[in-house]
Symmetry: C2
Subunit: 221 residues, 2 copies
């Protein structure tokens, strides 16, 4: 047990170091030996967890996948909004999420397959959109895979623009504006009027998700 | 005159070399000496045109600004669509435009001000949106700067996702889908029905713009 905890901590320390090095130098210029030095672990420890630079990068990329889960909502459109605003909040506040997103946007990382996060985020949204359609929340013409791709791609650019202009300070406002611009094209007007998508929604959803996760931990202990 | 032509050619050769080096290595890792070698010009020639690495990067960034101008349209919403689809077409076909866009998305370029292209594109769109509003093409609640920022940011992400997934092959389809998702939130329904935003629209607008520019050159010669 103690060994397992140690292994998890070592893996985490290596990923944090890798995230920092990839952010500072970009994927192309980063080397495993930079990451080794920053992590302060042995070569053996690093190669036990990760086989290659690409493998390290995939580990960092996976950090933006949802480990903090949005609570189920009756309206699946609200759940889509919550997933998006929560991701914006985590991007603003969690350095590992930020590193994952930036790496997925590193267009100079020529030999790194960066499609994973785009594809996984789109899958999450396709699932929610299909349930929303079954529940009668969407306009009749909607094609879930197309709409999911538009949301994921547009979000990626909005975060990049927010970082370039003001280092993420206005990210919740921009993502909220994005959702207000996209939703009318695929959601029924009667559903639109009851949505919550203010700029503080992301922080609220985060607090709620953390509270629920703690309650679940306590009841299983 | 011959000297002026030579200077323009040299500047262009340096920018092409800089674009290539920035794309290959990322902004952080690229050096002026890499760019000198790739351009095959003297140090003196390079410093005559560009003072620093940042200056070279700003030159590449500016390449995505519109030198090919969309012809005036009666509907300013159609002109917004045309500006967007033309940019997608140029991104797919012109290596210098591509290098400029990628550099503006290089989130690892820490000491480079990448806000310029975002801000300039937003200004172009704000102007068009304001005219569209005056002409009565928009819904009454529209805030042109907010909508312009959403379009610019969303476009930036859509192109990045298209590159990550299939090296821009599906870019016109994705940008067309983006516009279909954004327009209903700010354009009057009666205007929406007359818009042309198919996936070949970008190529058509490009051909039209080039034809008009050639005609203007001939009539002034």
């Amino acid at each position: 047990m103690a060994e397992q905890v140690r292994a998890i901590r070592t893996r985490r320390a290596i990923l944090s170091a890798a995230a920092k090095i990839f952010e500072d130098r970009g994927y192309q210029a980063a080397t495993i030996s930079d990451i080794l030095t920053a992590a302060g672990v042995t070569k053996g420890a690093l190669y036990f967890h990760f086989q290659s630079k690409e493998d390290l990068a995939q580990g960092v990329l996976a950090e933006q996948d949802q480990r903090i889960v949005v609570p189920n909502r009756v309206s699946k459109v609200q759940e889509i909004v919550d997933v998006t605003l929560l991701h914006a909040y985590r991007l603003q506040t969690d350095p590992m999420v930020r590193a994952g997103v930036r790496l997925s946007m590193d267009q100079m990382a020529h030999d790194l397959d960066r499609s994973g996060p785009f594809v996984r985020w789109a899958e999450v949204l396709v699932g929610l959109l299909e349930t929303a359609r079954t529940q009668g929340e969407l306009l009749p013409h909607v094609d879930p895979p197309e709409t999911a791709d538009v949301i994921v791609g547009a979000f990626a650019g909005i975060q990049s623009m927010s970082q370039a202009i003001c280092d993420y300070r206005d990210l919740p406002v921009r993502v909220s504006a994005l959702m207000r611009h996209l939703l009318p094209s695929f959601v029924l007007p009667s559903v639109l009027t009851s949505l919550q998508l203010g700029e503080h929604r992301g922080a609220d959803v985060y607090a709620e998700a953390v509270r629920l996760a703690q309650a679940a931990d306590e009841s299983s202990a």
